[in-house]
């Protein structure tokens, strides 16, 4: 399937007509926050007022993607989100406890459901077609892509809108910090991989893609294949999964021009990437992406956006110019539970 257009709101300047690659926005501390656009140009201001931050981010990036593709409405809308609408969930939960389950209002409850963003996009476009939401932790976005791939194969859809969305709220950052997920003390996203210690930096984002089976002149890249695997028992098993994924595509690791890995700066988390760097990937050029968007369960949506733009512009951020890029592989895992592989090629 082809990536015809994207819309990406992230902690970097990725939205609208921003140049690629842009200058990296630096962050001090362990929490990266999305740079949000002026929503008034994308969503009816009357609707904006009622929407929480993540709903605005989701809806705006979805609408921008469709606008770039010149597709309204799509034949299917599929979203992936591990956490859903955390802000509304937190508001309703807090008020319910504060007020002893009395005198509550429905807005935050209504908007707390995980399918709110997909539903709002359908509502804005009067889109009656297929609409689905995956909430499967670190593979939520990948499940959405697989769903899209199947819809295209089944002939049920020609243009599928797929997005990966997750937000950080003060409450979620507070709780996740207590699990020891994030680095303590002074930390900069620019030094993320140079300070091998415990923890990573928290991130968030909303990246949408318009996928189609038809090649077109302005498509960014072709997404050849996607797979996930669950709780592998060893690094060797990861290596074997990657090899069989590539064999199924009739290619070997030597055919890969660039590997984008999900290193997040946490020493334990990154061991598998280091292992692969010495084994299967030892001859490949590899770059990382989480210093740009931070770590979150649907960060692979940011990685896909990054890969598509690298292919389209034939520029690897931070690397000297190379021969035309033909194949890019993204390998990411989230907390060693869900691992995913996405193979892209130049159109």
């Amino acid at each position: 399937m082809y990536i015809r257009a994207t819309g990406n709101i992230s902690p970097q300047k990725t939205f609208g007509n921003a140049p690629f690659p842009g200058e990296v926005v630096a962050y001090e501390g362990n929490r990266l926050t999305c740079i949000t656009p002026d929503y008034k140009e994308l969503i009816d201001p009357k609707l904006i007022r009622r929407m929480s931050r993540v709903i605005k981010m989701g809806v705006a990036s979805a609408m921008a993607c469709l606008k770039e593709a010149g597709v309204t409405p799509p034949d299917a809308i599929i979203t992936g989100t591990a956490y859903g609408c955390l802000e509304d969930t937190g508001i309703f939960l807090s008020k319910m406890i504060e007020r002893g389950e009395e005198l509550l209002t429905p807005t935050s409850f209504i908007q707390s459901t995980h399918n709110t963003i997909g539903a709002q996009v359908a509502l804005l476009l009067h889109c009656h077609e297929y609409n689905n939401t995956f909430v499967n932790g670190g593979s939520s976005f990948e499940c959405s892509l697989l769903d899209a791939q199947m819809l295209l194969q089944e002939g049920e859809a020609k243009n599928v809108l797929v997005g990966g969305i997750d937000e950080i709220t003060d409450i979620s950052h507070g709780i996740l910090s207590r699990f020891g997920l994030y680095k303590q003390g002074s930390v900069s996203n620019l030094d993320l991989y140079n300070t091998p210690s415990k923890g990573t930096i928290a991130g968030e984002g909303s990246a949408f893609f318009l996928l189609t089976n038809e090649a077109s002149e302005n498509a960014l890249a072709k997404l050849d294949a996607i797979t996930t695997f669950y709780k592998p028992g060893s690094f060797g098993e990861v290596e074997q999964q990657i090899s069989s994924f590539l064999s199924a595509q009739n290619i070997s690791v030597d055919d890969i021009d660039l590997i984008i890995t999900g290193k997040n700066g946490d020493a334990k988390n990154d061991e598998v990437y280091q292992y692969l760097g010495k084994t299967l990937f030892n001859k490949n050029t590899a770059i990382n992406y989480k210093h740009l968007c931070g770590e979150y369960p649907t960060s692979s949506a940011f990685a896909l956006w990054y890969a598509a733009h690298i292919i389209k512009t034939n520029m690897i951020p931070g690397k000297a110019q190379v021969a035309p890029l033909k194949k890019v592989l993204i390998y990411n895992h989230y907390q060693n539970t869900y691992h995913s592989l996405m193979l892209l090629s130049a159109c």
Binding site: E101, I110, A119, V135, N136, T337
Partner: protein, 407 residues
């Protein structure tokens, strides 16, 4: 074994499992359906200030009893325990030999994950951000509930979670069937789970759609819905797996469709656009005409809005010949993310055994609708196709069709 109608590739229901307010397994639920025994009662297990106000259909077991029944260690989310009990029954009832030799998946839906435990955590956390036991919030995410259960079942090839409000588990079943048809998996346990929580009870209360009496779906004088809890799963298998079974599958999943009402975040359109499209799409996929459907397991929540909208869509699609129909939510309450899974089990049994379930407490027909739901349990051996509807917030509408197999 030949399917009555032609299809390029068939997905079979080889196993079923359910736990709900009317019973802790399939046999007990079926017995309650046969004997018109509703599971709705005064709140006993959920700790809420509304316990004397709103009747609900709770699973009649405490968390400790559920832990013992499920083999989970005590302290885990009730949602996971309900899920494991029903999913394990669905797996065992399929009697698949050499289960581990097939590519297997677990696709489970839910709407609020481990919210029951998060609520306990949050009370302490709000008083002090350093307080509250982390083990009560570690499984908050919807996907964590699925993982906990998949690990207990030993399913590793593919694990996923869907959340589209009250249609969630219909979409899990659809996705599971498509993973089989696309030759990605051979066996999928698909359905959903939801435990009652204060979050959802209070949320539905703010929408003013909870009935303080026992609900009366599709009745002219209906007042709203009763919430329920539970889990329901079907074991879906490919033709190859079905051929290896010693017993005949329950039925085929012959059609399904997901559409969106695109009318309002929480309300359904007056003409039932989304539900009409979902039912019509499912019929098209199974190459059936409306007249082929013998029974509709209604979404039938008992709210003014749903029953009007769903009823209007049925009128538009089926006029003038209406199948028999009923809402089993009059027994189980509305179990949200689990409802389509539970009702898929009831529908599979309905088409396999020719069973029509009653719509309890129905008295007065809705004026604008030229049909009424069934009021008693009957057997109809000639039943061939059953339609199950599930509609949710966000306009998500999904319909499934289960078809009888010929020996």
């Amino acid at each position: 074994m030949i399917l009555e109608h032609k299809m390029s590739q068939t997905v079979f229901v080889a196993g079923v499992g359910v736990i709900s307010g009317i019973g802790n397994n399939t046999a007990k639920c079926l017995s309650a359906l046969e004997n018109s025994r509703a599971g709705i009662d005064k709140i006993r297990y959920l700790d809420t200030v509304h316990k004397d106000t709103f009747p609900v259909a709770e699973v009649k077991l405490s968390n400790d009893e559920l832990a013992a029944l499920s083999d989970f260690a005590p302290g885990i989310s009730r949602t996971a325990m309900l899920s494991l009990i029903a999913a394990r029954e669905a797996l065992h009832s399929a009697k698949i030999e050499n289960f581990s030799s097939w590519r297997t998946g677990f696709i489970s839906a839910n709407t609020v994950g481990g919210m029951d435990k998060t609520e306990d955590f949050f009370t302490q956390f709000m008083a002090n951000p350093k307080a509250g036991r982390l083990r009560n919030v570690v499984n908050h995410e919807c996907g964590k509930i699925t993982e906990l259960v998949a690990d207990q079942l030993g399913i590793k090839n593919y694990v996923s979670t869907i959340s589209t409000a009250c249609s969630s588990s219909a979409n899990a079943i659809m996705y599971g069937a498509r993973l089989i048809k696309n030759n990605i998996l051979d066996v999928v346990i698909a359905g959903g789970t939801d435990a009652l929580t204060r979050f959802t009870l209070n949320g539905f209360n703010t929408l003013m759609i909870l009935d303080s009496e026992y609900c009366q779906p599709f009745d002219a004088n209906r007042r709203g819905l009763n919430l329920g809890e539970g889990a329901g799963y079907v074991t879906l298998v490919s033709e190859r797996v079905a051929a290896s079974l010693k017993t005949s599958p329950y039925c085929a999943l012959s059609g399904y469709c997901n559409a969106n009402d695109a009318y309002h975040q929480t309300a359904s359109s007056p003409d039932g656009t989304g539900s009409y499209m979902a039912m019509q799409g499912a019929l098209k996929m199974s190459s059936l005409n409306p007249g082929d459907i013998g029974y509709i397991n209604l979404h039938g929540t008992g709210t003014q809005n749903n029953d009007n909208s769903e009823g209007t869509a049925i009128k538009r699609l089926f006029e003038p010949h209406y199948p028999k129909m009923s809402s089993t939510k009059s027994f189980t309450g509305h179990t949200l993310g689990a409802s389509a899974g539970i009702e898929a089990v009831f529908s599979a049994l309905s088409v396999q055994q020719g069973l029509i379930y009653p719509n309890l407490r129905f008295k007065t027909r809705i004026e604008d609708l030229p049909f009424a739901p069934e009021t008693s349990f009957t057997r109809q051996p000639e039943l061939k196709h059953v339609l199950s509807n599930s509609f949710g917030f966000g306009g998500n509408c999904s319909s499934l069709i289960f078809s009888k197999l010929q020996d």
